[in-house]
Amino acid sequence: MSSDQHSDQPPESGAPWGEEESVTEPTSAVATHEGGDAPARRAEPEYTLVGGDWEELPDAVEDDLMVLNMGPQHPSTHGVLRMRLTLDGETVVDNEPIIGYLHTGIEKNVEFRPWVPGVTFVTRMDYLSPLFNELGYCLAVEKLLGVTDEVPERAQIIRVIMTELNRISSHMVWLATGGMELGSTTAMIFGFRERETVLDLFEQVTGLRMNHAYIRPGGVSQDVPEDFVERANTVVTEIPNRLQEFEDLLTENPIWIERLKGVGVLTAEQCLDLGVTGPPLRSAGIPYDVRVTDPYCGIETYDFDVITGEDGDAYARYLLRIEEARQSVRIIEQALERLQRTEGPVMLQDQKIAWPAQLALGPDGIGNAQEYISKIMGQSMESLIHHFKLVTEGFTVPAGQVYVPVESPRGELGYHVTSNGTNKPYRVKVRDPSFIHVGALPTATRGLLIADVIVAVASFDPVMGGVDR
């Protein structure tokens, strides 16, 4: 086939060459004209490199340093992160992270919607821990409303279960992607497999695998299904075995140790100065956990340990995350037991705040229960008006400013929410741990080899959706 086409269109007396000559001829003529008696020279093709960074290159050449762009489209930078590495040979002299490729203006968008739809926005920030984002936002709104203590017990337990499950799934993805970036496809398969079991649970409860908008100001959108406890128990009993599989595969693995030990070290002092929290800070020996210092949803009443490491390197962070997943399992087991004992509503009883949450499975997916619809459509005009007002305009929140942190899988996730007394947030600022950790990368990667930069970045587990928001 191809040979036919070639024979159909033979180059006519070297047409490509002839064309190029006809283009270059006038150029060289001009050059001759300007240069006086300079010999006519065939014009060199001119290449223009785009991208501002190259203009700073001459300095680097002078010092025998090389500037290398890693990312944004690089399979092992953990997302669309770009790092401008200054290299001396293969050693990193400087590293400047460049971010913003996933910036979607979520914080600005939230300012133009009522308070409840804000949940659907913030859940899309850090897409590996959506429930923590929802929880942080909802806790902040509840604190502004002054209803923190009125959220029903059952809702609080469900929140704890869901977020701790989310912690496990997030750590599993970290192992999967972190392992894959080092070439361990087995770790990748294992990690995503375990995460899948947790996501199946999420799907059963919220209807979605990610971006749930399940936690709402005042409680959660609906109660868990009847067989939830049973299914969750199955998952939770299985996870420790699977974690053991990881440990068998990696903990004593000489390649894993060789690649992770002593890489990306941050001492406790450096961590604090750079604002680093979560697993990296704890792996350096400081037991700072928001679940203990600023407990939320009654998490202080559960029995669990704050895990710390000593070395503050990538290997310590790996061990710490595995152990944290085990602690989450402990919390979930206790919470599931409490859930069976606790009856009651899952949403605030104040009907001026509580989003209509009489949900049921309808023919077109999830929707309001038939009974509720016939009430507002057929029996009670007042209920209909109330429903309509609450859904379109929402509720007003007294003016003020609060900061509420939660312990996300990556560290302290803080919601700094300002209200000016209307039905929309005035400003929602998210202190995303990934953002802070990317800022700490220059210090953590200085002096490493290029191959180790990948390990160091992965060990912080930055999620670019959260970094760029």
Partner: protein, 223 residues
């Protein structure tokens, strides 16, 4: 904050009841009372007649101290180094823009309150959230700036984490942090015009049509 100027909140029977709640919210937990006393002891209090002292605000059991730009770095360094405060972490640094001019606050549709007008000078408040792990307390240091040409000294010398955080505030609000080592846009493209989180910066958006009716973009909706 509009609580003091909003007649609907400051007048009336409901407001009086609400004042009772506020009183409770304005009480601080014991650790923060100690922090407040320590800060006032070192830097003075505007309410007690010190011209360049701190303004102390308590709301929803959170402590905020307001200082001027001149003493900001001194205050942050004090919070970090003082053994009674010992704030190891600068947890957060963020801005809030309050637009200047006359505003018609129309909460009629949502609250039933009468419409009222508010006169404000434009300001940007920059909030530094400090956390002490050793003592387990958290409080805010706030600086109010004019929104015309906001300028602050950099805190990178006190907390390295301020590097990224200040770049974000510069990017979104246009606050220039003097002597910052690398003050350039961080999330928006380098050649972007304007500072998106200022309130006079539009959200943008298009009308959405559905079955013949249209829904205006979010920043033009009435509710």
């Amino acid at each position: 904050m509009s609580r003091d100027t909003n007649p609907n909140v400051t007048l009336g029977e409901t407001a009086a009841m609400r004042e009772g709640d506020l009183e409770l919210e304005r009480t601080l937990p014991d650790p923060l009372v100690a922090v407040r006393d320590r800060l006032v002891e070192a830097f003075g209090n505007v309410a007690e007649g010190d011209a360049d002292g701190l303004e102390v605000l308590a709301d929803r059991r959170e402590l905020t101290v307001v200082t001027g730009p001149e003493r900001l770095i001194e205050l942050l360094a004090f919070c970090r180094d003082d053994p009674a405060l010992q704030c190891e972490l600068l947890s957060d640094l963020s801005g809030v823009h309050w637009l200047g001019g006359t505003h018609e606050a129309s909460a009629q549709a949502t609250t039933g309150w009468p419409t009222y007008t508010e006169q404000r000078t434009g300001r940007i408040e920059v909030n530094y959230l400090l956390t002490s792990i050793s003592h387990g307390h958290r409080f805010r240091v706030r600086v109010n700036l004019d929104d015309e040409a906001p300028r602050l000294p950099t805190a990178t010398g006190v907390y390295s984490v301020a590097d990224f955080l200040e770049r974000e505030v510069y990017d979104f609000f246009g606050v220039v942090f003097a002597d910052h080592p690398n003050l350039q846009r961080i999330l928006m493209p380098e050649d972007w015009e304007g500072h998106p989180h200022r309130k006079d910066y539009p959200l943008g958006g298009v009308e959405v049509e559905y079955k013949g009716a249209t829904i205006p973009p979010p920043d033009e909706r009435d509710y």
